[in-house]
């Protein structure tokens, strides 16, 4: 689960990590009031769940009331298109207006869980303000990582080393160390998978402030944080994402694919996409219907697949273990009737109740070709695709 910047900063404040003075607003009328409070020197930032806001024009330093108003007017209620959003963009419902800071230095500070060492890792860089991926390409020696112990937390000597790496001035070392400790505590207590502060700045009057903040919470752990759950902003989801969320389906759309894929199991779903490509066609999606799929879920999955107007054929690949093939077959037949879909299906069905499943499909009026295994399915797909051209 992603938090908005303003929500992340609130969480930082709760842990005594300084953030700029600011207000989150959803109506233009308040812009005047706050820009006056900040004496015509503020930063306005779109609050959206996507990266690349700055480059896409979602962030601006403003120095007059009129400039602030015009920028806010161009953001609020409009869609912001970044390199991560696709061409439709993502709707800006809120903006953050913050007091501008006089920056002396910018630092990069983040905490993640590094799977290769199965531990939380603190990542720092003296080159703050830049995209960390650019830093790692251009000057990897400027990135330092500190592995923390899951049982002991972060030891003081490691914090002293971080201060040294980042050239923190003597008089700010205590305050900076406290910030690292608090951030680590926040990371652990709130089941974060990522906290990124870029930049953490030292101001000209020697204050340390988190100018930006990005926090992600482990979806699997949200159940034990009811107050964080309330922060989820569903308006940032596309209608398709909302639907897959509702039915607990794992779905990823691929651009311009023609073969819709409905599969049980994530590994098999990926392999089915690969097979489609091998057969000379582009897969349209990743879709895992999961182990305990009921009819309702299958119907939803089918609708999600055909919602994609590029889809010309659907490949169903089911290896039923816990799932039952007859249930899946019934769901597919119902969904095709409900939607009056004319899209042909290639079906591989094996495992629990697969004979019943296949007979349900074959006795329906749907355009179905059944394949005996994956290789056979690839051959049929190949014929179908080239035959259509």
């Amino acid at each position: 689960m992603n938090l908005h910047e303003y929500q992340s900063k609130q969480l930082l404040s709760d842990y005594n990590i300084p953030t700029p003075n600011g207000y989150v607003i959803s109506s233009l009328e308040l812009v005047k009031k706050y820009i006056a409070e900040f004496e015509n020197s503020a930063v306005i930032k779109a609050q959206v769940h996507t990266g690349g806001r700055g480059k896409a024009g979602g962030v601006k330093m403003v120095t007059s009331e009129i400039e602030a108003y015009n920028f806010a007017e161009n953001l609020l209620g409009k869609n912001l298109v970044t390199h991560q959003t696709g061409s439709k963009g993502i709707k800006v419902n809120q903006i953050l207006i913050e007091e501008a800071s006089k920056i002396e230095r910018e630092i990069y500070l983040s905490i993640i869980i590094d799977n290769t060492v199965s531990s939380p890792v603190i990542i720092t860089s003296i080159e703050g303000g830049m995209d960390i991926e650019d830093v790692s390409k251009l000057m990897p020696e400027k990135i330092k990582t500190t592995i923390c112990s899951p049982l002991l937390g972060i030891s003081n000597y490691k914090i002293r080393q971080i201060c040294k790496d980042l050239e923190i001035p003597e008089n700010l070392k205590n305050e900076f160390s406290q910030i690292v400790l608090s951030l680590y505590k926040l990371f652990i207590k709130n089941d974060c998978t990522l906290i990124e502060i870029n930049p953490l700045v030292i101001t000209k009057d020697e204050k340390i402030i988190a100018l930006d903040a990005k926090i992600n919470i482990d979806d699997d752990a949200v159940f034990r944080h009811p107050s964080l759950k309330k922060l989820e902003d569903k308006s940032q989801m596309s209608p398709l994402e909302a639907l897959t969320n509702k039915y607990d389906l794992s779905y990823v759309k691929l651009e311009k694919g023609k073969v819709g894929c409905m599969v049980n199991g994530a590994g098999l779903a990926m392999a089915t996409m690969d097979l489609t490509k091998w057969a000379g066609a582009e897969p349209a999606n990743f879709l895992d219907i999961g182990g305990s799929a009921n009819e309702e879920k299958i119907i939803a999955a089918f609708k999600i697949i055909i919602e994609d107007k590029d889809v010309e054929i659907i490949l169903v690949n089911l290896f039923a273990g816990i799932a039952r093939a007859d249930v899946v077959a019934t769901g597919i037949v119902k969904a095709s009737k409900e939607t009056s879909s004319k899209i042909p299906l290639v079906v591989v069905m094996r495992g629990t109740n697969s004979e019943e499943g296949l007979s349900i499909l074959n006795n329906s009026n749907l355009d179905i070709i059944s394949a005996s295994d994956l290789e056979h399915a690839a051959i049929i797909l190949k014929e179908k695709i080239s035959g259509g051209k």
């Binding site: 869980i113 799977n115 290769t116 199965s118 531990s119 939380p120 112990s149 899951p150 049982l151 652990i188 089941d191 998978t193 482990d218 699997d220 752990a221 159940f223 034990r224 794992s250 990823v252 691929l254 599969v263 049980n264 199991g265 994530a266 590994g267 098999l268 779903a269 990926m270 392999a271 996409m273 690969d274 097979l275 489609t276 490509k277 091998w278 897969p283 990743f286 895992d288 182990g291 305990s292 290896f319 273990g321 816990i322 094996r350 495992g351 629990t352 295994d373 994956l374 290789e375 690839a378």
Partner: protein, 290 residues
């Protein structure tokens, strides 16, 4: 011979709710020796009129000598169940549960250091040894056949796919192991490869990897230096877009090493017989072994 489980396996099942009891029945049908069950509120009763329920893992082991534990406990309570089983000294724990918070797994992984317990999973289909008719987990018993091929995989249904092709081509399995789809898990490819190398019954190994992480590269390094048996491998996710999670929590490409092509290359360089799609595993095994 086989690895991890055999006719001496005495299984304890923890979490006998809807999924747990359905799978317990399948394990019993197949022939697994389930000796005890742990589920809150059921102590004193018996599952299917024959397997006694206990209130704690320690008590169940004391009364029934269980040596392997399987966990179906829901994700919010799974950490506690795993810790309880580690503390009881079980030699092997198989955790089927999906969706355990990653911070819980970080702690469990640290807790496991210097313990004599092996954890398989979580988020895995478990293990099956056809020769001794023993299965711990959810791999369907009717698709396997006794034989000489060891199977190890990060994915459940893709394991079934591989098994079914092996059988179609006339090859049985020594043991099939699913290590699970989570980014942090108890047992790696390398751990299982070591066991297959030592197992006299296993003549060749099928390895099924997927995008994300670097476990396949670790496997490739190990194969190059330590493995004498032939390995046939495939990687799922060549068409997966970067940065998107493909169902499994661990199946996400975030760097060069996570790419399917990088994994293919590492395995090929290590002398592994790599096939482009799982559809060709069976044929490749025939080719390599005959």
């Amino acid at each position: 011979m086989s690895i991890l489980i055999d006719e001496n396996t005495k299984l304890l099942i923890q979490g006998v709710g809807k999924d747990g009891s359905f799978q317990a029945l399948r394990m019993l049908e197949y022939g697994t020796n389930i000796v005890s069950a742990v589920h809150p509120g059921k102590e004193g009763k018996k599952f299917e009129n024959k397997i006694p329920y206990f209130s704690s893992v320690n008590e169940a082991i004391k009364k029934t000598n269980a040596n392997v534990g399987v966990i179906f406990v829901p994700a919010p309570f799974a950490k506690d169940a795993i810790i309880e089983q580690i503390d009881s000294g079980l030699e092997l724990i198989v955790c089927i549960t999906e969706g355990i918070p990653i911070h819980d797994m970080v702690q469990i992984k640290a807790y496991l250091i210097n313990k004599n317990t092996r954890l398989l999973g979580p988020n895995c289909p478990g293990i099956i040894t056809p020769e001794s008719k023993t299965k711990v987990g959810i791999i369907p018993g009717n698709i396997v056949k006794p034989g000489n091929i060891g199977v190890v995989s990060r994915s459940g249904t893709l394991t079934y796919e591989a098994i079914s092709q092996l059988v179609q081509n006339g090859f049985g399995q020594s043991t099939c192991v699913g290590i699970g789809g989570d980014p942090i898990n108890g047992t790696s490819f390398v751990d299982i490869l070591k066991l297959f190398e030592e197992d006299k019954k296993t003549k060749a190994i099928v390895l099924i990897g997927e995008i994300g992480g670097n476990k396949e590269q670790e496997a490739a390094n190990f194969i190059k230096t330590h493995l004498s048996k032939p390995v046939i491998a495939t990687i799922a996710g060549h068409t997966a877009p970067e940065g998107k999670r493909m169902g499994h929590a661990g199946a996400i490409v975030t760097g060069e090493s996570g790419l399917a092509s990088a994994k293919n290359k590492a395995l090929s360089d290590a002398g592994v017989h790599v096939v482009e799609s799982p559809a060709y595993i069976g044929k490749k095994v025939s080719e390599v072994l005959t």
